[in-house]
Symmetry: C2
Subunit: 119 residues, 2 copies
Amino acid sequence: MVDLKTQPVVGDEAVQPCCPPLTERPLSREESERTAKMFRALGDPVRLRLFSRIASFAGGEACVCDISDVGVSQPTVSHHLKKLKEAGLLTSERRGTWVYYRVEPSVLSTMGQLLVGQR
Amino acid sequence: MVDLKTQPVVGDEAVQPCCPPLTERPLSREESERTAKMFRALGDPVRLRLFSRIASFAGGEACVCDISDVGVSQPTVSHHLKKLKEAGLLTSERRGTWVYYRVEPSVLSTMGQLLVGQR
DNA sequence: CGTCCATATTGACACACATCAAAGCGATTC
DNA sequence: GAATCGCTTTGATGTGTGTCAATATGGACG
């Protein structure tokens, strides 16, 4: 049911231990570019709802059809899912007719540490 | 002078616990609107650098002059600081000739909990 | 008062982006 | 193969936003 064989990286390029907490030292330009992309991806209400629906779905993944009733057209849903994927927040896999999205495992804790430091 | 548009988006824990972790349950439309505003504020590289510089500055606050060499013009810096303030992430205070910005205390942990749950 | 300094606001402009209808594509079923 | 379903891509459009130059504001100091 839940297949955890995939352990992809975050974003289109490989990501090292990302960044220290925002309170530790000023971000460099490159760090800020990379990090801003993730925050911006969650900076749209529709994307945030889609992300939250996937993250809280039973099994940790959701078919597009499970989450697409958020008040915008289906192409728009697809557009937002693509953006979340490009930001490295989601991964997707086609299984038969359906496409399943799941939250990239490392993302939540990485962004969390950026905000609050060591857990 | 009290500018209502600069009041924090996140409420105090007792008053209004903002939102549960994104993984707990799907966000409502209102919750997503409110929360997306904060993420969007950090979704620009320049703003993220400014925020990080303030957050990591000695004393927990910084004068605009301390942080404004981020590669854009002075009006643009001012514009970004205003946006961060409107999102509830920063507060500002004028002292003599200078204006000091500091991170709104509750913000980091609130956004952190949104991502990683209870600490 | 006048000048200088630090920051904010205004106005203009180019570009990014959210959105939808329509068309395309992959997989299943008949 | 044809029809259908689930989803993505394309193209068009209106709105949002990052940026700067110019200007305004507000305090400090002669």
